[in-house]
Symmetry: C2
């Protein structure tokens, strides 16, 4: 059964990115600390085409998150930055390189219509100009029996939550306090949640919730 | 070894109380949902002089939190409400009743000097007008070898964290989204934390952290 889900690292004070995000600092000051736990994991390294890495509960969680994803939805910033690099001439292909780690269709929310961008390894970026519901609908069709992953960032996740499109999500709660930045949950309520699974791991806790209908 | 610690329920979006707190609604709209998991626990009921209740991981956590506390520090709102009931004539004794559940000295942060208020069962409210550091220092002296509990609310906890006075804390993370209210962590950073213990329980996850010096 296909589900719409997301997973994201969040600080103990609720930030999914640090303050002063910029092209040079896409996850803001201190934001990289949110992701430090992931870089040494075997499953994450494999997704980047790298060998080695360690196992354990966090590795299992990431391997699971990467399994059965048929399509991804993301915001334009996650595709690749601010107004400058969005230019068509020369075309900007995002900051994921020639072979992005998605290997599926990726539906990018934007106000700029553009032809789909097919890159190596099965990733095709499809640009959607008519909002989150349309993007998720198209992702569902593309994913078939597999799941739709809301890739982020926080604003795109909030849009999906507010529109009632999310079935479940997993937070990777990192024991840091960023003090400022981009909060994950802003103006999201009226959702009933069920705590589904909690996994303690070195330097992070994985918390999975289901949206109750 | 005496430690300064706090424990508090917090929503998944980081609120320790709902919006529109008032005398009638001291933890704000929806705020009571933060505490529902605690009312049926044996240890909590015992602290209120009630029989019965259930055991389990949450019960163990609350029993542990109540053990070895030698003094408590709290804000004036937690003692008892807004400017009105704070009046001296007739004296207002807070909303904890004739026999409050603390059974130790309780240091109340306030701008209004007042003689200590000794109630039944060993609770004496001591009113401190010279700030969080002085309050914690006096609580430490009173607690001796036992711990100092920062009772709350969020503002008092933030003051203690910013002043570097907290050794460890436990969050009771409740799977609700309040959308608005009083955030637990505001303008708190520059603290290095270590994840110490994670316990999954029905309807809540208990997360314990230590401040690293």
């Amino acid at each position: 059964m296909s589900e719409v889900r997301f997973q994201i690292s969040v600080s103990l004070d609720g930030y999914a990115a640090g303050p002063n995000q910029s092209e040079q600092d896409p996850i803001g000051i201190g934001g990289m600390e949110l992701h430090r736990w992931v870089f040494e994991l075997r499953s994450w390294r494999a997704s980047q085409g790298l060998d080695g890495g360690i196992g354990g509960p966090s590795d299992d969680v990431i391997a699971e998150a990467q399994t059965n994803v048929g399509a991804t939805v993301m915001g334009r910033n996650m595709f690749g930055g601010g107004p400058g690099p969005w230019a068509d001439d020369p075309p900007w292909n995002g900051w994921w390189g020639d072979e992005p780690p998605f290997h599926t269709p990726v539906f990018v929310l934007t106000q700029h219509a553009r032809e789909p961008l097919e890159l190596q390894g099965g990733t095709t970026f499809v640009f959607v100009t008519d909002g989150i519901e349309a993007a998720v609908e198209r992702a569902r069709e593309a994913a078939g029996e597999r799941d739709v992953s809301i890739g982020g960032g926080a604003s795109t996740i909030q849009q999906a939550l507010r529109a009632g499109l999310v079935d479940r999500f997993e937070l990777h709660l990192v024991p840091i306090l960023l003090g400022d930045g981009e909060r994950l949950f802003v103006d999201v309520d009226d959702l009933a949640l069920e705590q589904e699974r909690v996994l303690e791991a070195p330097g992070v806790t994985h918390l999975r919730y289901r949206v109750v209908r």
